[in-house]
Amino acid sequence: MPRRISEFIVESLIKLSGLLVIILVFLLFLFLLKDSLSLFGIYPLGKFLFGRNWLPISEPPRFGVVPLFLGSLYVTVGAIIICVPVGIASAMFIAEVAPKSLKHVLKSLVEILASIPSVVLGFIGIRWLGPALRDVLGLTTGMCGLTGSLLLAFMALPTIISISEDAIVGVPRTYKEAAFGLGATRWQTLWRVILPSASSGIIAGVMLGIGRVIGETMVAMMVTGNSPVVPKSILAPLRTLTATIAGEMGEAVSGSEHYFALFAVGLVLFVIAFIINLIADAFLRRARK
């Protein structure tokens, strides 16, 4: 029975690809872990996690992840402060205030923003935003945390806006009708009824947006100043976890301490991203219910 056989093959392939997806994630984690653990054989874990100096080519080298972690933290917090209120407000405007024709235009523009490659935004940061901030704020260099925060905020906005907008649109009509029936204005309904009901979806969107900011590499590498020291403020040059891997991997000799240290940084990123994703996924599930 050839039909049976071909069917068996196809169905096995289908099941196999499900398995392959799991294997890929497992492999990803395993390879990161393997090379990271090689570091901790020769360099103490405590000094990696709590060391305040990242000096990979000094003698002896030091691989303290704190300055890089703080670099990522500063840039991310800066970006969150900008993109969360702006993103949610835009989502509210697009979902509930804008007339239908404008709505489509706005949504396509947000999609366009999502599709601009990060390296182009990094380039804009070098050519225009960095120098502009330097002149306006009187800094010694425009290549600093704030420039990164602003650009990364823009990279996170499409995620936050589109998921929040879906959440707001997904609130049952009856909620709105009930509020109107009680004499509430459109704004009161939006602020007091729709927004709280959509909060799970909005939080999920915000979490995914934050994940994008932490994981973004090229913008961070191009505009934040490439300075792996504990940053004094968000206006100082700094360096993120992602930019460190991207910037130093090319020079690190395969199998060296430095090479393993970069994988350990990768593992830190992987764990952070994993946690953020789990939280986002939990909120998304709650929103669907």
């Binding site: 994630v25 366009i112 923003l113 182009v120 804009i124 204005t185 602020w191 590499t217």
Partner: protein
């Protein structure tokens, strides 16, 4: 005007201002890149290799490299992603294995692109000895694109009415015959839209190809899948940060071509979606 009405007026103005704060920079960015780059765009720029330390000539090898990477990415991510989604929607029972597959897809979607770069480097370049090559780069980008393809396919399959399956099964068709003839054809538009979108993102990504395929300067075309290639996003990174005295026109023009390429792919995806939506039968 009552206070409530006044408040509403103010609130809506604030929301509108926030939206402008998002929209205006997008338009400015695109305008800025086009204005500064259009002057350097010429037939020569698109069809010639770079010369004189990349300060003159064109970006032809980078365009070809990016197109090859996109095709390679599709060859790997499309079959694997579609099959995995078919498994999840049509075959999976609610058990531990299924939950693990779903969790894996969610997890993959959030991993930073540079971590994919690291992974691709150890697994494909070193462990499987593919070297820094088109093959290694495409595989890395494919894994990165996988969650988008799976999610888009899943949604497309789920949107096909259950009755289609029930009728087919009731007529004596097997499970696979049902999926193949009564579900998959109707899910094709959704699958294509999602795939093209993910490929557009792959075309613009730099971090995953840094150590897996991208060449700093390689003015000839690749001979096999084991060769390195230049790629547009990496080329823009190189000429805007690593090459001193770079004519800014060329950087802007490179950015312009990259944006145009990604936009074209997005546009294709939007047109596909609109075209099939009209033909939808239910």
């Amino acid at each position: 005007m009552s206070t409530a009405k006044l408040r509403q007026q103010i609130a809506f103005i604030v929301l509108g201002a926030a939206t402008l704060f998002v929209i205006v920079p997008i338009l400015l960015t695109i305008f800025y890149v086009i204005k500064n780059g259009i002057g350097a765009i010429s037939w020569e720029f698109i069809t010639q290799p770079p010369r004189n330390g990349m300060r003159q000539g064109g970006i032809f090898p980078a365009i070809v490299g990016t197109i090859l990477l996109v095709v390679g990415t599709m060859l790997f991510s499309l079959p694997l992603g579609v099959l995995a989604a078919i498994y999840l929607v049509e075959y999976a029972r609610d058990n531990f294995f299924t939950r693990l597959v779903k969790l894996s897809v969610v997890n993959l979607s959030g991993i930073p692109s540079i971590v994919y770069g690291l992974f691709g480097f150890t697994l494909f370049v070193l462990f499987l000895r593919l070297g820094t090559s088109i093959l290694a780069g495409s595989l890395t980008l494919a894994i990165m694109s996988l969650p988008v393809v799976v999610t888009a396919t899943k949604e497309a399959l789920e949107s096909v009415p259950v009755s289609f399956r029930e009728i087919s099964l009731s007529l004596g068709a097997t499970k696979w015959q049902t999926v193949r003839h009564c579900v998959l054809p109707y899910a094709v538009p959704g699958i294509l839209t999602g795939t093209v979108l993910s490929l557009g993102r792959a075309a613009g990504e730099t971090a995953p190809i840094l150590f897996t395929v991208a060449a700093f300067y390689l003015p000839r075309l690749p001979r096999s899948v084991f060769d390195q290639v230049m790629a547009l996003p990496y080329h823009l990174y190189v000429i805007s940060t690593q090459v001193p005295n770079m004519p800014t026109e060329i950087s802007f023009a490179t950015g312009f071509v990259l944006i145009a390429l990604v936009f074209l792919m997005n546009l294709a995806s939007i047109i596909l979606r609109a075209h099939y939506r009209k033909k939808r039968l239910w």
